[in-house]
Symmetry: D2
Subunit: 350 residues, 4 copies
């Protein structure tokens, strides 16, 4: 980056975990089948099914989150069916209308945490009663959410049961699933996912891979001809090995969890330190995205050393910023950031 400041902008600013690069080198000389039907990709799929503790699950690798989202959603819906999403949902805010481009309306629900509950969804269903309106058919959730919140098992079970009772698919965007699973207080396990959702994806790009998301289909209806959907949408890589190698590495020795644990630990360190300084947060800091509310003067100074997003203005004097850590975040940067803020708080309080 031309910008020399250390970046807490996003978890995709890093390279790959070294183990992944090594696996690419180790397998490079092999001739392998194309389009994800190679032995390495098959092995990676098996490892993920083991982690899910579900042999019937279907695993498909694609290159990015937008692609994963719109392929799953568009393949699940008939033309008149819609998606229910929090208004903070990535599919609504940051995917350039990809869902609509595939023909589907998104029914929005306001939610400060980015999480959805049956009570929020019920009125949407009740408002859609006849053929002059779309028919809501799929609930899209992100775990962790776009603002760092994480579903409890109880919440997920409630959503799952509600969706079952109302003929809705439940789809979980897991761009930051690793961080959610390793979050403070989380009680959802990888092995709960196929039981509690109809489809989800396990994000690789933001958790140590260079590229790649693993779509997991548990509802048999969604499995039909899924590779046709991937191919038609440009998601079937000729050298599918590239995706297989990365997920094999991430799941062979629990690297997926270790990466997320490190990422969360770095965020938690910042969170704990800032709380002790009396700093408020937009949300409870429990995953790898945290949103401290800082005096604008402190932010101005912090920006001399670090890159990060100003998330939203809180009041005249204060703004919430977003800090994102990753598998690669060095503890030295975390300590330095804390120190700078502490010094400024100290000066102010004197």
């Amino acid at each position: 980056m031309q910008d020399k400041r250390y970046s807490f902008l996003c978890d995709y600013n890093e390279g790959a975990h070294p183990d992944i690069l090594q696996a690419m080198i180790d397998t490079n000389d092999e001739q392998l089948e194309g389009y994800g039907e190679d032995a390495i990709s098959l092995r990676a799929q098996d490892l993920i099914k083991e982690a899910l503790q579900d042999k019937e699950a279907e695993v498909h690798f694609v290159s990015g989150g937008t692609q994963a989202n719109y392929i799953v959603i568009a393949s699940a819906l008939r033309p008149y069916e819609s998606v229910i999403s929090a208004s903070t949902g990535h599919i609504h805010v940051h995917e350039t209308g990809a869902i609509e481009a595939k023909g589907h309306k998104i029914n929005l629900i306001e939610s400060p945490s980015g999480k959805l509950s049956p009570n929020q969804i019920k009125p949407v269903l009740e408002a859609h009663v006849d053929e002059h309106m779309v028919r809501p058919k799929l609930v899209y959730i992100s775990n962790s959410t776009e603002i760092g919140a994480v579903y409890t098992k109880k919440e997920l079970v409630a959503l799952h049961e509600f969706c079952q009772a109302n003929d809705l698919f439940l789809f979980m965007d897991g761009a930051r699933l690793g961080s959610a699973l390793m979050a403070t207080g989380n009680d959802v396990k990888m092995s709960d996912l196929t039981r509690l959702t109809d489809a989800c994806y396990i994000g690789g790009t933001k958790n140590g891979a260079l590229i790649g998301e693993a779509i997991v289909l548990s509802n048999p209806v969604l499995k039909n001809y899924f590779r046709y959907h991937i191919k038609q949408n440009g998601g079937l890589l000729a050298k599918g090995r590239l995706l297989g190698i990365q997920f094999r590495t991430l799941f062979e020795k629990d690297l997926y969890y270790k990466n997320a644990a490190h990422s969360n630990a770095m965020a938690a360190k910042i969170g704990k330190a800032l709380k002790e300084m009396g700093i408020d947060f937009l949300n409870e800091p429990i995953s790898n995205q945290i949103f401290p509310i800082l005096d604008n003067q402190i932010i101005d100074v912090l920006e001399e050393t670090y890159q990060f997003y100003r998330w939203c203005v809180v009041d005249e004097k204060r703004t919430a910023i977003r800090l994102v850590t990753s598998w690669a975040t060095p503890e030295t940067q975390v300590k330095k950031l804390i120190k700078i803020i502490a010094e400024m708080i100290g000066e102010k309080s004197e």
Copy 2:
């Protein structure tokens, strides 16, 4: 590959050129901007513009050929406009209806070589006269074609002029552009491309990369908001560096041409040897895909040692097979293949 036989099936069965892996290792520790706006991707774009000798060209990296094709085509067309393609065109045969999925009809032209000429296109235009029919607006060509043929400069100039005169875009699918540029008898240069087409793509996946095609836009009309099209279609990789690194490596030291030259040389060696044995070809063998016509008995024996496609039945006794070489094809395999065939021809002729 579980199958232990050496594969001449396709040019995507290999890993990456070692220089590309090395570049990935060398840059891995850097924090870089996302979505292709990093310094490495910018450098790769500049190198390609230098190769094109066209500073005004716009270069965008995407992950695969189907994606490159449908994003360029769909972004160029209005809803009622159609694409003209040879009936062998990859967009028609092997992309699961991706063009139609974006809303556009493909007008087909029969062509044994897979190449198109103004005389073939003219009747298509004449047949589409009013609002009850689509309006042909873009000519899709592949160079080299899906069956190994290569356009001469004269042919390309004629197509270009015809398209200009008839308000048509000319788009070249360059999945195997490297092989075309280095083909026996080719007189088209990289620096001709932006002058003679409105858009094209430079294929990386089949020429040494693990992933990646470089879309080149020369017609200003096509440049508008092109990143919006890429993002909406799931083609904007978060860690865009992955594509940038590969193309920087391919174009920094002429690796793109060297890879293709090796690939073609291997195919030419087979072509020359088989011709000397009196074997016919479906097409003149000039690029990295060659189609010898062999006795079925010879094919049966050859399949014990090699993987390749049986392309089409020629007569009761003979079948054309497809052999594809790549940057990684070892000369030992080429020699061994020639030897096996030679021995069988020898036996037969005794």
Copy 3:
């Protein structure tokens, strides 16, 4: 209707104005060209251009409002572009996701009256800044709105100028344009429309026709190949005369205005009478849709004699109902309705 009660449900519950039926009889024996190129349709187009006082306008007839809306909008937009609409907009609420089915997101704005202003639109533009988001490109307004409000000329001029300054198309849904033009206090004229919008449609179905909306294109960009869009979307009727006859009749002797004037007069009579009884309205009753707020007991009794929609609950005791009048509403029914309400109010106040 099996239901014998008189209906104030909607303005499409009636047949055609008798003059239209007579014109159908008078022209029935003629052989005419198909697809809207017949002499009657051409005459109807000319009459509308005269009414618009704009010879350059292009007029196209289609069969319904949903069709008019999505054909105009989808023909105007590129794939990554979106529509801005009030959240009450018909395209959002009651067209089964037709806009999204053509690939476009709708950016919603809350607006109690259903009208939009530059101040409401500005933040939407400011929030859409890069290729990760759609690009708002067309502002959709309804006049009269879905809840009976009407734009003043000043408001329309402000919207028009804002759209011009911000590279936005302005499109007016005129399903109830007649009623808007003849509304109490309206100062917009038919001859203002092509100057102040890029496209609009003049609704026939709800103003005396059996079928038919006249799309009016004033921005030259939108005129290109428009018949291709209509045909591709199933909107080009083989016997286009059916639409031409109706609009010729509506515009030959000002029937379009007379129908709307009668419709509004009937609504105004109810509005005035109820106001005099001290009844509140959700909106000022100025067009042919009015929303009196009545005690639930009164509504229960009223429903014994009349059909209408309960629009929204206002408080524990009161509900707003919607009464829609039309060119065919007999004054006797209006008087009877007023009388019933007056009697109940009288009883209550005793």
Copy 4:
């Protein structure tokens, strides 16, 4: 028509059958429910089900053939599925890419008569084997075909059985179904349709109505939420009564068959007379479209009195023309046409 010559151009150049106009007058004063849920439309649906002898069939009215075709086809297919059609099929040739605009490829089969048989379809299925290609799922046929041919019952049964055995939907475009059912030698009955197809439509526009096609769904899978598809595609008319009135009239007193019988009788008269003069036909003249092959000199003279299409050049001296008759074609015009041709043939043979 400004052109004063009598027109044999198409069967949509006429007005409505007088009984239909009368029914519109008779029902005009009734208030009726919107969107096709009125009593008249329900009655029309019942009459059609009686004609089909199938109470389980679902009947939906839409305004035109292109709309009927693409709504049925798009509602039946998943995104990766395609339609098989003769290359003369209306959906391929004359609907401005409406099927592709809904996302689906059309697999074309060459067929001189415009009819399809299992033997022609089989190779298409065999060529589509994996996820790199679309999956053919629906067979589209027209009866009568675009060039006047009619399916025998044996042919239809064979197609039906083949489709059943191969998991294909069979859809019949019945824009000219009336003419097919009343054609010389036809042995298919209205009551065979729901047993032998999964969906079809009964064309009204070309058989006495001003507008309207009746979609008939027999396969239960296709019935789900069909009104949602119609509404989303702009096919649900607010004043649905307009369609109901016409079909009630056509099916109340066998007017549908009588109209077609007259139309065919007029064509047959021409066909018989011209055959007796030794004139050849492109196809056997059995329905209301006939294609006599005439000397160009005769055609030149005929065009002074009549409008019709020159269909295709047969040899240097002769061209096939298309003559289309309708429910409204007067016998006097038929006799006059025959006489003119007879005179010219007489002159030539002298």
